[in-house]
């Protein structure tokens, strides 16, 4: 038990220690300052600008910045959509994978351009090497870079005064990929290759099982097929860029995707590394480190609360699970707790931490079967997504989403101290408010509409693995995952159906682009404003009280939006189990 607690703590400490310096590094990249890699990378950077005719000094208005994003996302979508449908005819396809149906391709393409990486296909059987490398991995970089670029633009909105430009998208985009994503991915992929993750173009191998398995219907299985492929390069960025789409179907629970405890540690920390670092980038670049620390503190506090809740409910399971033998509470010689669906080689702490990290950040990769979590454990994971993926959230988008919540919070709190609200010296007026609520409420809207319609469709039942409250949880989780741009699955949910593919695709699109455009518009408007001087009558946005209030607002909006749904799902299930 103590060992487990030490593990949890250690993970969090390492995360913070790595995030701070990285945050400062990213801040320098954003401002175009000289960094360690400048000498090495700058020539490439210049070359790219020259080839693509990008003028570094060409600042963009928010509308142009947004147009560039829509353009790059649109092109990405079309290319990926066609590639997925035609992959059977494309090279690098030793496993002879067929093209996807139009709606699965639609769903997958949207999923990858929106940084969601919801996978209604299984990597081994559904995607060729070509698709994985040229299609999906490229989008892992692109969608992550877009998210961070928007954050940079939003930060500029706060820094700049009486200007109507918020930076050059292509410069931001290029720098993020060259200075941040590629170098970090190289490091992580080399490391995980050293641990045993595959990186090749081999055909799948067939090996004899050491111990044959007899299935329920009596067939005896003696052989298994081992999938291969250029996995490591994709896994690094899927973890770092909060993408989460596994190379293999079972994601990081699969040994060739996540072989050792060490690879697990690195992959797990990679999930939150950039999102956490960006908080410090924010503080540094708005020239008030306290502001960044406050946002970090709010996110971190919720993360810790979530982690404790999951850890406790998984450790102690429920009476029903105990009676069923799933939870070994009397653990003497081994770790106890609800091990159903968890990898024995990772154990409680690493599985729970991963699950909380991956749902807090909008990563979505998994190393355990979330469907098998206790109702309350699963509810916390679901809630982390339903909050709008702002507890660190996706790279860039998590933080700008959080800034949307900060705008809401200062609005209410500012009024309570008798001032019209301001954040970082900028007055929050109707336009910012409109954009702020759009950013904060896009996720609840997407989830409620999506799951609301899905629940009304009789055929949805066919997709479920369970009945009753748990079945409802599966449905709710699916749409929460799409609406939070998370991409993790509760498993047990058969998603490759026309309605589900299309509806989830639309949820993902809305949840990604509504907040993004809203925050860009807010940034454009904020940049035009002058800065209001801070006095002792100004609401502090960096003290305990504000952090607490911010957390309260996030939890309140989450709770108000999802309490009824959760009551019919995990809460009912939990009460039933203990009752």
């Amino acid at each position: 038990m103590l060992n487990t607690i030490i593990q949890y703590t250690l993970y969090l400490v390492i995360l913070i220690l790595l995030a701070i310096p990285l945050g400062i590094y990213i801040g320098k990249v954003m401002d175009g300052e000289k960094v360690l890699l400048t000498k090495l990378v700058a020539p490439f950077e210049k070359l790219i600008y020259r080839i693509l005719h990008i003028d570094r000094e060409d600042d963009m208005s928010w509308k142009r910045y947004a147009a560039c994003i829509l353009w790059i996302s649109g092109v990405s979508f079309v290319v990926l959509f066609i590639m997925l449908m035609l992959q059977g005819f494309l090279p690098l396809n030793p496993a002879k994978v067929k093209g996807m149906s139009w709606h699965l391709a639609f769903n997958t393409a949207i999923s990858f351009i929106t940084n969601t990486n919801w996978q209604a296909y299984s990597g081994e059987t559904g995607a060729s090497y070509f698709t994985q490398m040229i299609g999906l991995t490229v989008q892992n970089f692109v969608s992550a870079a877009v998210g961070i670029a928007v954050l940079f633009a939003v930060i500029r909105g706060f820094i700049r005064t009486k200007k109507d430009k918020i930076g050059n998208f292509f410069v931001d985009f290029t720098r993020i990929i060259l200075y941040i994503l590629i170098p970090m991915s190289v490091i992580v992929s080399i490391f995980i290759v050293s641990q045993g993750v595959v990186q090749n173009f081999h055909t799948y191998e067939t090996v004899k099982l050491v111990e044959p398995i007899t299935l329920e219907d009596g067939t005896v299985v003696t052989e298994e097929m081992v999938p291969m492929g250029p996995a490591a390069s994709q896994i690094a960025i899927k973890q770092l860029g909060t993408n989460g789409g596994g190379f293999f179907g079972t994601n990081s629970a699969f040994p060739l995707e996540n072989p050792t405890a060490l690879s697990n540690l690195i992959e797990m920390l990679s999930i939150l590394l950039i999102p956490a670092a960006l908080c410090f980038t924010f503080g540094r670049n708005v020239k008030d480190a306290k502001q960044g620390r406050a946002i970090f503190a709010a996110m971190f506090t919720v993360l810790v609360i979530a982690l404790i809740s999951v850890a406790v409910s998984e450790q102690f399971g429920t009476k029903q699970l105990e009676n069923g033998g799933s939870v070994n509470l009397s653990a003497v010689s081994q770790a106890g707790g609800n091990m159903e669906g968890k990898e024995a080689r990772f154990g409680m702490a690493s599985s729970n931490t991963w699950s909380v990290f991956t749902t807090a950040a909008s990563n979505g990769s998994v190393n355990a079967m979330l469907d098998s979590y206790t109702p309350l454990g699963g509810m916390v994971l679901m809630l982390l997504m339903q909050l709008g993926e702002v507890i660190f959230g996706g790279v860039g988008c998590g933080l700008y989403g959080m800034l949307g919540f900060a705008i809401l919070t200062v609005f209410i709190a500012g009024l309570m101290v008798g001032r019209t609200p301001e954040y970082l010296g900028k007055k929050i007026e109707p336009f910012e408010m409109k954009m702020g609520v759009l950013a904060c409420l896009a996720t609840p809207v997407a989830i409620l509409i999506g799951s609301g319609i899905a629940a009304a469709i009789p055929s949805i039942v066919d997709s479920l693995n369970n009945t009753g409250a748990h079945g409802f949880s599966e449905l709710l989780y699916t749409y929460s995952s799409a609406g939070g741009n998370n991409g993790s699955a509760f498993a047990g949910f058969a998603a490759d159906k026309l309605f589900i593919n299309v509806s989830l695709g639309l949820c993902m699109l809305f949840a990604r682009f509504a907040p993004m455009l809203a925050m860009l518009a807010a940034a454009g408007s904020l940049a035009k404003k002058k800065k209001v001087a801070a006095t002792s009558g100004t609401l502090s946005t960096s003290n305990f009280m504000f952090v607490g209030l911010l957390i309260f607002v996030i939890l309140l909006i989450g709770a108000l939006s999802f309490f009824p749904a959760l009551a019919l799902g995990p809460i009912a299930e939990h009460l039933k189990m203990i009752g």
Binding site: V417, V532, L539
Partner: protein
Amino acid sequence: MSESKNSSMIDRKMMIRALKDSFIKLSPKTQIENLVMFLVYVSAILTTALFFLSLFGIQDAPSGYILGITIILWFTVLFANFAEAIAEGRGKAQADSLRSAKKDVTAHKIPSIDSKEKVEEISSALLKKGDIVIVKAGEQIPADGEVLEGAASVDESAITGESAPVVREAGGDRSAVTGGTTVISDWLVIEVTNEAGESFLDKMIAMVEGSSRKKTPNEIALQIFLIALTIIFILVTVSLYTYSLFSANQAGIKNPTSITSLIALLVCLAPTTIGALLSSIGIAGMSRLNQANVLAMSGRAIEAAGDVDILMLDKTGTITLGNRQASEFIPVDGHTVEELADAAQLSSLPDETPEGRSVVVLAKEKFGIRERNLNELNMKFVPFTASTRMSGVDVKGIEIRKGAADSIKNYVQDHSEIYSKECEEIVKQIANKGGTPLVVTKDHVVLGVIYLKDIIKTGVKEKFADLRKMGIKTIMITGDNPLTAAAIAAEAGVDDFLAEATPEGKLSMIRDFQAKGHLVAMTGDGTNDAPALAQADVAVAMNTGTQAAKEAGNMVDLDSSPTKLIDIVRIGKQLLMTRGSLTTFSIANDLAKYFAIIPALFMGLYPELSALNIMRLHSASSAIFSAIIYNALVIIALIPLALKGVKYREVSAGKLLSRNLLIYGLGGIITPFIFVKLIDVIIVATGLV
């Protein structure tokens, strides 16, 4: 306006009027103005329809249940209407009394100042801008204007509520007259500056009545937030219907949620409390300002007052009493203080200026020297003139004089007496302390110096310290020299001062502060204040001031009191605080409502969910009724708070926030748990459910 001042209590008449208005406001055109309440309105119509349908057998819930919900929903709408109507009531009463002042009169138009005899009689309604009229004693001034010629005392009580007449005269800073006021003595020649319909009185009526009330940006921003929440709650309830359908199908039972119950849930969740009170808060804020006898030209100006962090205050009248007063006698050259006091008093006996009076009083209080009868002593008074710059008396051939140091020095030396170093030193000291030295001589011999001091008003220092805690800086504006100004500034505890202030100086100071991101408030009256007033974020023009100043400002202080600025800031802050606090309260309430309604809705589906019924409400329908009745009653309960505003304290933002969060945040979470339970007990006990 005096009427409303006297009857701050909401009287019966206003109450009846508000009740009537509550029903008039049921028209859809009025309802759609406030989208949150419009939702309740539509919900009420919907359940009414459901009720009638249920009578014909098409029902998803028992008719009695639907009827009950319908009635409460209609009451919720009426309560919201009533809240707005009662807030408007005071303004309407005020407007009525103002309207009585605004009647058409016959104006005496003249072609020019030089031909006052060619009077043309014309209705005041037909007067055009630039027309010249003559108004004699007893006549009402027909339109707003600028006095071109003459001086007269004018009764402005119709507008200010102040019955003492004021002087209006050509030139200077008291040249503006307002239509609807009455000339009491003498006559005025006036150039019309505002035509009928755009007059000050018209604007005033429109403002107090609230008919020209536009939503302020902050109000709009808040409404966006409330609408967004409402949209979420609509989605929550609609999706809840399909969730419930799905879960019921899974369990193989009938869908337990009826449309009526979901509508009840929606109305409970929607931020109806703040939605219902939002416009009342705004109107009440305006009304409080009117009660302080300040007229804001827009609601925006009041909110800006809440944001102000620099107050530019005129020294005289705001920080110091109007006049300097004698505070000390300092003898020199070996004379006694009694000797000095006696001579000083003698010299001041016939002096009717406030300074002179204060010398007499000081001598009497400190040394028991009684006033002597002027005639008895056979004194000759030598009044102050600009050339001699001294005054005094000649009594029994002895010349007693007091005056400014340099003129006395010349006077003494002219009579070949010595103006000592000691005296010079003391004069300097007094000047350094911000006081005014008056040197007293008897028979050309210097006796000593009277220390005239600017008297700081009591309590201002504490007031400024409070303001500082709230992050508001005070700047003293004075025509004094920097030395004097610095001394007074230090004594009064202002943060900064502008000495030898000129209109340009004020303007550039405001610009400097604004460039640094501050919001500046100031008061002004003269035409030369107009540029600074136009620049300031909150500009309060004195009603006694010129037309130009009034037009440049965004508020007019009818009392023309320089301390009003501080009240205005308080009212502005209070308005915003009330809005924020009630919003917090309204949203915090939802938690308890969930705990009341969700278990009630789904206990049939999942009996285990009754664990969430932590209030132990009697039954599903009593739970829903209790929640929705609470939701309606809380509007009525909070009307007084919306009208009065939440309690305001001069403390830092952090303290204010924690206090208001505790009361309205935590209070908002706890209160409904208590009252919903209470209502449940009552309706169960009385057998209503």
